[in-house]
């Protein structure tokens, strides 16, 4: 496999960093939302928000990297439908990587619990305090999370399908270690 068929090193690093953060933040959010109000819950919600805003910031960097260093071409064996599905899936993941943290930030503002990143930087409120709007945004945030979970599952299954069934070495494109020539 030629190195030109791999994603750039920054893209690979960001992919795995963001993937880890997204999975952790998703599970963390599920755990925290079921907790009764307690000092621990305040702390855990704060961590969830910090992780989510970190994803948002990292996705901005990742998008810049993608524009500056184009991703490798899709394997030649893929048909038009497959290509459409692949591009659509990636587009959906990018949209969700912005939309999920943004709706979290929005609902924090609407609830009147602003985001103070790492206890240091207070982010501006995106909307005025409004409990009803907050409840709606919470529903949207949760729905988008489940859509994202479905997209991530599809993403993983597709990658594995390429690697195992099509045997096109798909996973090497994003592997942290350069495969042997």
């Amino acid at each position: 496999m030629k190195s030109s068929e791999r994603y750039s090193a920054p893209a690979i690093a960001l992919h795995w960093l963001i993937a880890g953060l997204i999975i952790a933040t998703f599970i963390w959010g599920l755990v925290v939302s079921g907790m009764p109000l307690s000092p621990a819950k305040f702390k855990y919600i704060a961590w969830h928000k910090w992780a989510g805003i970190s994803v948002l910031a990292l996705v901005v960097v990742r998008l810049l990297v993608r524009v500056l260093k184009r991703p490798p071409e899709l394997p030649a064996h893929m048909g038009p439908m497959e290509r459409l599905l692949a591009h659509g899936g990636h587009l959906a993941l990018y949209v969700l990587m912005f939309a999920v943290p943004l709706t979290g930030w929005l609902m924090s503002s609407a609830y009147g619990f602003p985001v103070v990143l790492f206890k240091l930087v207070q982010l501006p409120d995106l909307v005025a305090q409004d409990e009803q709007l907050a409840a709606t945004l919470k529903t949207v945030h949760e729905a988008l999370n489940w859509i994202m979970a479905a997209c991530v599952a599809g993403h993983v299954l597709a990658a594995v399908k390429h690697h195992v069934i099509d045997k096109d070495g798909m996973l090497f494109r994003m592997s942290l270690r350069q495969p042997r020539q």
Partner: protein, 183 residues
Amino acid sequence: MKQLKLLPVALLLAAPLLQAAPLDAGKSQINFTMKQLNVPVTGSFKKFSGNVVLDLKKPEAGKADISIDTASISLPTAEAVGEAKKPDWFNVAKFPAARFVSSSIKSLGGGKLQVAGKLTIKGTSRDVSAPFTAHQEGGLTVVEGVLPVSRLAYKIGEGDWADTGTVADEVQIKFKVAVPAGK
């Protein structure tokens, strides 16, 4: 008959007290801001009442006695309101009212007043003092100021909540008290 003759004198003596006016609840506000992991969370008390005597020309003779209905607490979420009423916080069932009674009002000049008094919350009384500003506004005397208090001094947030690493000890109480201006 003797008593009757004394009545005008009694009235005269009572006159300064009669200027005590109930505060205008619609134009007054009692808000507070606390910090949890540096996140400012603002709440308020929706129901309170009291009497205030304040002549801006003679603030030293002023007096304030304000009673706050602790069950009228408002916080960003219904869950937080429910929690705040519990025994660990305001214990509204046992302590339905908080009260501020002034002990001295001193003019600092330029419409500024130093107000001292006793603040009682959850059965605990503490002497407090803070600078306030006062101005006239459409027939009302409006007194505004921020009183920083230690929540733990009043046992607000006991048990797990006493940990100031999560909810900071200092709470800023913001008063805006409007009373009909005398005369």
